[in-house]
């Protein structure tokens, strides 16, 4: 996990906010580093994590996780992590008829009307343990990523419904957190995706947006909305430094993080994000329905 990001969001593994839906958005760049951050953060915070990994294999997350200081294999063995490796399990359901309901049932349908089996899987994975003390803190659902569901024939409305149900269970009922990644292409080419992004933005408490810059570091200040709860922050990652500039209510703080090559504990090996900027868009203190 990245300490600067934690400082910015004012969270530590010991003090985690509960009941929040965080939306991760990426535009013209790869926002998966945010997923790796939150995965390692919540595992370190001793939360029970259900990770629906739709686009990459387990070993990919494991290897990056090791660079960030967590071992997914250990977490899985201890029961802290429930991992749905969709790339692998999709082969089982695709080539033969499943015996019972399967979380990836939508792959077999022409246009899946709902993601009910997937929701049932999440519910089962994160249900509180019966009897006695809980080994882990509040549950967390992490999804990487939601845009690929549209490519697989699921309608945007069905994905929105799925997130709504998960939010009701995970955030409200179980007082946990939900973190999901979507791709935002920006141009109006993919209407279903735009529908999904706007619908999710409306429901989220926190939106973290990673944008690709054409030429590197940009000194513009992002225009901030006026409500007093909004903290505008702009972070740009230029090659080996991560600048975080708080342009909102607090004083302007700039944090540099040097590239730490040999240190594989906290920072990733050779972490150099090229040119992309990372904007924290508004901290909506929403009371959702």
């Amino acid at each position: 996990m990245f300490p600067e990001l934690n400082n910015l969001l004012n969270i530590t593994p010991d003090k985690v906010e509960q009941g929040k839906l965080t939306l991760l958005c990426d535009a013209k760049t790869d926002g998966s580093f945010l997923v790796h951050h939150f995965l390692s953060f919540f595992l370190k915070a001793k939360c029970k994590v259900c990770f629906v990994a739709l686009v990459q294999s387990f070993s990919h997350y494991n290897i990056v996780g090791q660079k960030l200081g967590v071992s997914l294999t250990t977490a899985w063995e201890r029961g802290q992590l429930v991992f749905l490796e969709a790339l692998k399990t999709s082969l089982d359901i695709f080539f033969q008829t499943p015996a019972g309901p399967h979380p990836l049932q939508f792959l077999r349908e022409a246009s899946a009307r709902n993601l009910q089996p997937l929701y049932a899987f999440v519910q089962e994975a994160l249900k509180p343990e019966d009897g006695g003390e809980a080994t882990w803190r509040h549950p967390v659902l992490l999804v990487d990523d939601l845009s690929v569901l549209l490519s697989l024939g699921v309608r945007a409305v069905a994905v929105l419904d799925f997130i709504h149900y998960c939010r009701a269970t995970v955030c409200t009922e179980l007082k946990g957190n939900l973190v999901a990644l979507v791709h935002d292409s920006g141009d109006a080419a993919d209407e279903e995706n735009d529908l999904l992004v706007s619908g999710l933005s409306h429901q989220s408490h926190l939106i973290l947006r990673a944008e690709g810059l054409a030429t590197g570091f940009c000194k513009d200040v992002h225009g901030q909305a006026s409500p007093s709860r909004v903290i505008g922050v702009r972070a740009a990652c230029v090659h080996s430094h991560m600048w975080i500039q708080n342009t909102g209510l607090a004083d302007s703080t700039q944090v540099h993080r040097k590239k730490a090559k040999g240190n594989t504990q906290k920072y990733c090996h050779g972490f150099s994000l090229g040119d992309f900027s990372f904007i924290l868009l508004g901290y909506f203190a929403f009371m959702f329905l």
Partner: protein, 384 residues
């Protein structure tokens, strides 16, 4: 739940190629060498597969695309377990060439091939592959007069290593070249001896389609469904998904699919904007990604992206592939007569490079890349 159990079993897989020999499942992203934080006893047992090398950045196993210039731009080569998507140029002149380089590289390195096409029979495609330049004096052959390798210069060079003069200069028989990335002569066809020793499987769509065409269970185009089943069958037959742990020699399966998404595959993504099978192509790519990730294979797919009417599909296809390279040839365009581009045949756009087992990728700083094709060399140059 069953899903949790199956992914649990997969999660136990180790992180080194060597250890995959004695475990039942092999995921493709494996480091060569000791595992970081490894509970595995006994030191690194490097099982080296012909025609591959580990990436210098993260130990990822790489194969050559057949074009050393492209390998360099992709960070050393194509990662095993990933899909390389080539967006075809407008008149489909250069993309078949890249397709052939990929297959020829597989034959020279001794890999198994799976060739799928809806237009040409795979046996015909293999006959047309370019001949590899294997003898060591290939540097001299780059100038167009093509000097004979028996010139006195070469014999003078051998003065110090005189023993090696006695060895034959050109390998005519079956080759197991240990070099990574070869050059090819497009004016010559691949020698028949090489083809005979090559192991390949072909998928020619007109032969595989069996009428009547009923609605497929997963609502994928019939052609795509058949191709996926074929790929799965070959992957498990060849044992590249680790299903034969007793097999000591491991090999890479190179999958080449030509013109995916074109109407010849039965997909109407290129014909209409709001098509009925709008998810066929993307579902196919997703399942292909799953198949390739779970095995020691590398896949090259060419797609006529400029024909796809619905731009949303183009964007989704890009995000479902790992590496995406676009070709833009100057043929027939106004750039053909532009003096800036007079030495070149077209532009290459590296649209996407994967971040595998890593938070960063080897993205090159230079975005203006142009290619030119000479008889024996396909170069990619920068900075127009």
């Amino acid at each position: 739940m069953a899903a949790a159990a199956t992914c649990g079993a997969g999660a136990g897989s180790p992180g080194s190629v060597a250890a995959a020999v004695d475990r039942s499942s092999a995921t493709s992203f494996q480091r060569k060498g000791p595992r970081a934080g490894g509970a595995d006893g006994g030191g690194p047992r490097l099982v080296s597969i012909a025609g591959t090398r580990p990436s210098v950045r993260n130990g990822q196993l790489l194969v050559s695309t057949g074009l050393p210039a492209l390998d360099q731009l992709l960070g050393g080569g194509l990662a095993v377990g990933t899909v390389l998507l080539i967006e075809e140029d407008k008149y489909n002149i250069y993309s078949p060439l890249l397709f052939k380089y990929f297959l020829a590289e597989g034959i020279v390195s001794g890999h198994t091939l799976l060739v799928a096409s809806a237009r040409e029979h795979p046996a015909g495609i293999l006959q047309e592959l370019p001949a590899p330049l294997l003898d060591d004096s290939y540097e001299k052959e780059f100038d167009e007069d093509g000097c004979n390798h028996k010139t006195p210069d070469s014999s003078m060079k051998m003065k110090i290593a005189w023993r090696y003069q006695l060895l034959p200069k050109m390998e005519a028989g079956p080759v197991s070249s240990s070099r990574f990335g070869h050059y090819y002569d497009t004016s010559k066809k691949i020698p028949q001896e090489l083809l005979r020793t090559a192991k390949w499987h072909g998928f020619f769509l007109p032969e595989r389609i069996s009428p009547p065409l009923t609605v497929e269970p997963c609502h994928l185009t019939h052609g795509y469904m058949k191709l996926l089943e074929f790929i799965k069958k070959i992957v498990s037959e060849e044992g590249v998904d680790g299903s034969h742990p007793q097999k000591k020699t491991k090999n890479i399966l190179r999958i080449g699919i030509q013109s995916l998404g074109s109407p010849l595959w039965g997909d109407d993504a290129c014909c209409a904007e709001a098509c009925d099978d709008s998810h066929s192509l993307t579902k196919f790519l997703y399942v292909l990604r799953g198949l390739v990730r779970a095995s020691l294979s590398a896949c090259l797919v060419t797609v006529p992206a400029h024909l796809i009417q619905n731009k949303a599909i183009t964007a989704r296809v890009t995000s479902l592939s790992d590496t995406v390279v676009g070709l833009e040839s100057f043929v027939g365009s106004e750039r053909e007569t532009n003096p800036l581009y007079k030495d070149y045949h077209g532009l290459i756009h590296i649209r996407q490079i994967p971040r595998l087992n890593n938070l960063i990728c080897d993205e090159s700083d230079v975005k203006d890349l142009a290619f030119k094709l000479k008889r024996k060399l396909f170069t990619i140059e920068t900075g127009l």
